[in-house]
Symmetry: C2
Subunit: 134 residues, 2 copies
DNA sequence: TAAAACCCTACCAAACAAGTAGGGTTTTAT
DNA sequence: ATAAAACCCTACTTGTTTGGTAGGGTTTTA
């Protein structure tokens, strides 16, 4: 399951897509429009900025905005930043790989199944972009 | 991610598949062979029994065994029993559905994407069975 | 009839989720 | 220049979940 944090992130990003190229958007505006606790939202947006999804402008007239065109940011990327691994097992994860104790990946049935699930999932999440959210 | 509990469950079930039709298997044997804390394993197996995946026999010569042929129990079923929902959002879950606040399913981009992911995932997990574990 | 085996309840520590509180720093319009 | 606007950062809190442990009770069958 996506965490609430991730769901907030997508709701916020949706708002930024809807306001793409209209200049920086206030945290307070996103918070109000999308009903997300402001302080919590702050930390989410900061994380997305630190991972190059967003950019921000300080001072009066500042706010957050998308770094790239909505069609250039993949759903999978955002999920990994906010929630971590997408795969169902560490031993099949591409970005968070950890080998598993008690399973020698070459002949582990569960490994194979979860590898299939990963491929099917990423096939969607690494094609769909923020643009698809609106 | 699958919980450790679910991973234990699959390891235990693998052992039971390997010993299908050889009579009841002791908890203590599964625990030892698959390196699963015995008491924890007990509660896992009990849950699987209560959900009709396993059957057990008490008394001397007792133990756990698969209720049906390994090819008749789906991976998805086990995952739902042990870890709950497979879907990434409550509003796209088939067995644990909850409508979402602040998203009117008809025109929510995220909903659509996660529905696709669910279908792709279940397409695998509802076809693969315990037999595929060995 | 006693040992083998499952069954059940309670408890526990650590980690994580979902925030809240409060203040610091930087920028920019005036 | 300066104050208000806005982002940035740290620490704390509360509740739930995870991953167990402890200890005993009940049922069965050799």
């Amino acid at each position: 399951m996506l965490s609430k944090k991730a769901q907030y992130a997508f709701r916020a990003l949706t708002h930024l897509v809807e306001n793409y190229n209209k200049g920086p958007v206030l945290i307070s505006e996103i918070s109000k429009k999308k009903k997300i606790p402001q302080k919590f939202l702050e930390s989410i947006l900061l994380g997305l900025k630190q991972h190059d999804i967003l950019e921000s402008k300080k001072g009066r007239g500042g706010g957050y905005y998308l770094k790239e065109h909505p069609s250039q940011t993949y759903i999978a990327t955002v999920m990994r930043i906010v929630d971590g691994p997408i795969s169902l097992l560490p031993c099949v994860s591409l970005y968070f790989y950890k080998r598993c104790k008690n399973c020698n990946e070459k002949r582990c049935g569960l490994h194979d199944i979860m590898e299939n699930v990963r491929d099917a999932t990423l096939n969607i999440l690494e094609r769909r972009t923020l643009q698809d959210l609106v």
